[in-house]
């Protein structure tokens, strides 16, 4: 078959380590896809050079003739993004591809991927070495977006953003600060009338990547937190009630007076909840936005497997509670058709899909990450040894 022939050619051309996938769009694809996010050159016409020689010119509608039904599960943090991508991809690019994404929490996503009960997992906490060892094969993390974890609250009369530093947030979640008008909070927010009500703390009840990012930050800014619950998807919360998923926490904050919670920026925005300015490492209070989120990733060296923490960034203007969110898949996929559909979708997502991120409350991937991902998607994920993306 034609695909096999191209694949064979690829292999011949590849030779050693570098993937010089010097394939221009062959027969079917034809026209290059539309340009993608503003922050990076389009992945098609412009030959964004990947590591090693050669240009990767795969159109972002490479998947349009795919036909597959995929199931993915995991992160509630990225739920609005992935369901939007699934919907857009099906309606605009590949009508034959249905990606059923279930928002069950990062912990569940990893678990289901390990048990091979889903085609891909999604998580805002990268798989640890121990978790990866339990998987049925080597896994590949594919970062898809940057997201900010914001501190949202529901306090009568306080509609403006409060200023909170890391130590204060940690103490609230440790149960050491119990009232809204505590001097620690009032001190940072002169001019705001805070009630003397008890703070109702809301956290996640499920294994959560959002919790992971949040506790990662708390561990870095509070020695007490680090010694106590620590960094985890599912720490033992000293106080508070639990919401299921980002959705549940948002809901609990909305419903309970004088509550505080941590959610992804988009959830707070879409539900008209106020969120705090957090104090970053350089001492400024930063409002979480797509820009301040992106800044958190500058100057960070991204390792080859993309597993990196970017909380408490030292960059000026960067919001301190930021993380990547990843789609995790097996490096060697069993089902070639589904694997190709997945890879094609991801290719589209890291290019065209980036444009919706800001509107949903996320920040697009940095350009160098996209470049690295292009290489990863074309060489590191395979099915039965054959690469998935061929510029067909």
């Amino acid at each position: 078959m034609a695909l096999a022939a191209v694949g064979a050619l690829l292999f011949a051309a590849c030779g050693g380590g570098t993937s010089s996938s010097d394939k221009t769009a062959t027969a079917s694809a034809g026209k290059p896809a539309a340009t993608s996010a503003a922050t990076k050159p389009a992945g098609t016409a412009a030959a964004s050079s990947t590591a090693g020689s050669g240009n990767v010119t795969i159109p972002t509608d490479v998947g349009k003739d795919d036909s597959a039904k995929l199931t993915g599960a995991g992160s509630t943090f990225a739920n609005p993004l992935y369901t939007r991508w699934a919907s857009d991809y099906k309606s605009k690019v590949a009508s034959g591809v249905e990606i059923n994404y279930q928002s069950v929490g990062s912990g569940a996503g990893i678990q289901q991927l390990t048990a091979q009960t889903v085609d891909f997992g999604a998580s805002d906490a990268p798989m640890t070495d121990a978790e990866a060892a339990k998987a049925a094969g080597p896994v590949q993390h594919i970062p898809t977006a940057l997201g900010a974890v914001v501190i949202t609250y529901n306090v009568a009369g306080v509609a403006q953003p409060l200023k909170l530093d890391g130590d204060t947030i940690a103490k609230i979640y440790l149960g050491k600060i119990t009232k809204w008008n505590d001097p620690a909070i009032a001190g940072q927010n002169a001019g705001v009338t805070l009630p003397s009500a008890e703070i109702v703390v809301v956290h996640r009840s499920d294994g959560s990547g959002t919790s992971f990012i949040f506790t990662d930050y708390l561990s870095k800014v509070s020695a007490d937190w680090n010694a106590g619950p620590g960094t985890s998807k599912n720490p033992q919360w000293p106080v508070g009630l639990g919401g299921q998923g980002n959705e549940g926490v948002t809901q609990q904050v909305k419903q309970n007076k004088n509550s505080i919670g941590y959610v992804e920026l988009g959830y707070a925005q879409n539900n008209n909840l106020p969120y705090a300015q957090a104090k970053n490492k350089s001492g400024e209070y930063i409002t979480p936005t797509a820009d301040s989120t992106s800044l958190a990733a500058t100057g960070v060296s991204i390792p080859a497997d993309y597993r990196v923490s970017i909380v408490d960034s030292p960059t000026k203007g960067a919001y301190p509670i930021v993380g990547f969110t990843w789609i995790i898949m097996y490096k060697d996929q069993k089902d070639a058709t589904k694997a190709k559909a997945l890879a094609d979708w991801l290719w589209w997502a890291i290019h065209d899909g980036q444009s919706v991120e800001a509107s949903l409350g996320y920040a697009p991937l940095p350009a160098d990450v996209v470049k690295a991902l292009e290489k990863t998607l074309t060489t590191d994920v395979t099915s039965g040894g054959a690469p998935l993306l061929k510029g067909s």
Binding site: A108, N234, Q236, W237, G240, G242, Q255
Partner: protein, 327 residues
């Protein structure tokens, strides 16, 4: 679920031996049907075995300590079910208490007081309560009961009963109280239906005898009916308890999801059933899953024992009148 043994077990086989001729297909049919029934038996045994097998790593590691350890720390693989056992016991017992008082009262109303034109529709409506799915109760609990507790009932309770030991904290719409109220409503149909049967089963002669001596209606109830029906009513209550213990979704929506031992009726908490529902899909590691299945096994055991006690009690009173309560 079925409460009683059917009334009489006629001795079919004797008659059949005398009169029936069965033909060649009979053994096949009988064999087939027996096989199916046997496979159901095997299925249940398999279920218990499978659950025990999956829970074994946790049983092995924690043993009985599991029952009173408070630590629930999945990343560090330290698990203890005490907070959930407390949550289950507190919510179920309180629901049992309220449910029994109101339920038996309603049953008495239906049997002793209500004229037929009231009794029939009201009984009907109580049965309809039983038909409402658990998740709808949960939805109602989240959007109606919760805010009501938070804004109306909670502050009121805090004002008047705040001196009591377990009544403190901000009046959240989720937590023990919310769960207790929902559970009470959910077990009412069970208690009312069975109590009604049990109270009706009290022989007329008992009632008439006491009335003839000049007792008021309440005295008749107190002296003639209730003692006679006591063990049956107790059985009804315990069946309600069993239902409350196993109730998952409605509770999961209003319990507040906290792995800490609750210390107030307004505390968020967890019950054994709801912690499984919330955490099972995302266990961090195998020990986490084994611990949750261990809880599932405990839950199964408790409901079995409670159900068995209930059925014995009810059967003793109704002495085999068929009452099928399908929940």
């Amino acid at each position: 679920m079925q409460l009683t043994e059917p009334r009489v077990r006629p001795d079919f086989q004797h008659a059949e031996g005398l009169f029936a001729r069965h033909g060649r297909l009979e053994p096949i049919f009988r064999g087939a049907v027996t096989l199916v029934a046997l496979s159901v038996l095997l299925l249940v045994l398999l279920m218990v075995y499978e659950l025990a097998h999956q829970a074994w790593p946790a049983i092995d590691k924690f043993g009985l300590r599991f029952l009173w350890s408070r630590e629930w720390n999945p990343p560090k693989e330290r698990f203890g079910a005490f907070p959930f056992i407390v949550g289950t016991l507190v919510t179920s017992m309180l629901a049992l208490g309220f449910g029994t008082v109101v339920g038996v009262g309603a049953a008495l109303f239906l049997v002793e007081f209500a004229p037929a034109w009231v009794r029939v529709p009201v009984s009907y409506m109580v049965e309809l309560l039983a038909a409402i799915p658990s998740v709808v109760y949960g939805l109602w609990g989240v959007f109606v009961l919760g805010p009501w507790i938070q804004h109306t009932a909670g502050p009121y309770i805090l004002d008047y009963l705040g001196w009591m030991p377990f009544v403190h904290g901000p009046p959240l719409g989720v937590g023990i109280l919310a769960a207790v109220l929902i559970l009470t409503i959910m077990i009412l149909p069970t208690i009312v239906a069975i109590s009604r049967d049990v109270i009706s089963a009290v022989p007329r002669s008992q009632r008439e005898g006491i009335l003839a001596l000049g007792a008021t209606r309440w005295e008749m109830i107190r002296i003639a009916v209730l003692p006679y029906a006591r063990s049956g009513v107790l059985g009804a209550a315990i069946l309600g308890l069993a239902r409350a213990i196993g109730e998952t979704l409605a509770v999961a929506l209003v319990i507040g999801n906290s792995t800490n031992v609750p210390d107030s009726i307004f505390s968020p908490a967890y019950t054994m059933a709801s912690v499984i529902a919330n955490q099972f899909r995302e266990v961090e590691n195998d020990m986490h899953r084994a611990a949750l299945i261990y809880i599932g096994l405990l839950l199964l055991l408790i409901t079995l024992i409670v159900n068995a006690i209930a059925r014995v009690l009810v059967w003793r009173v109704t002495k085999g009148q068929i009452t099928t309560v399908i929940e």
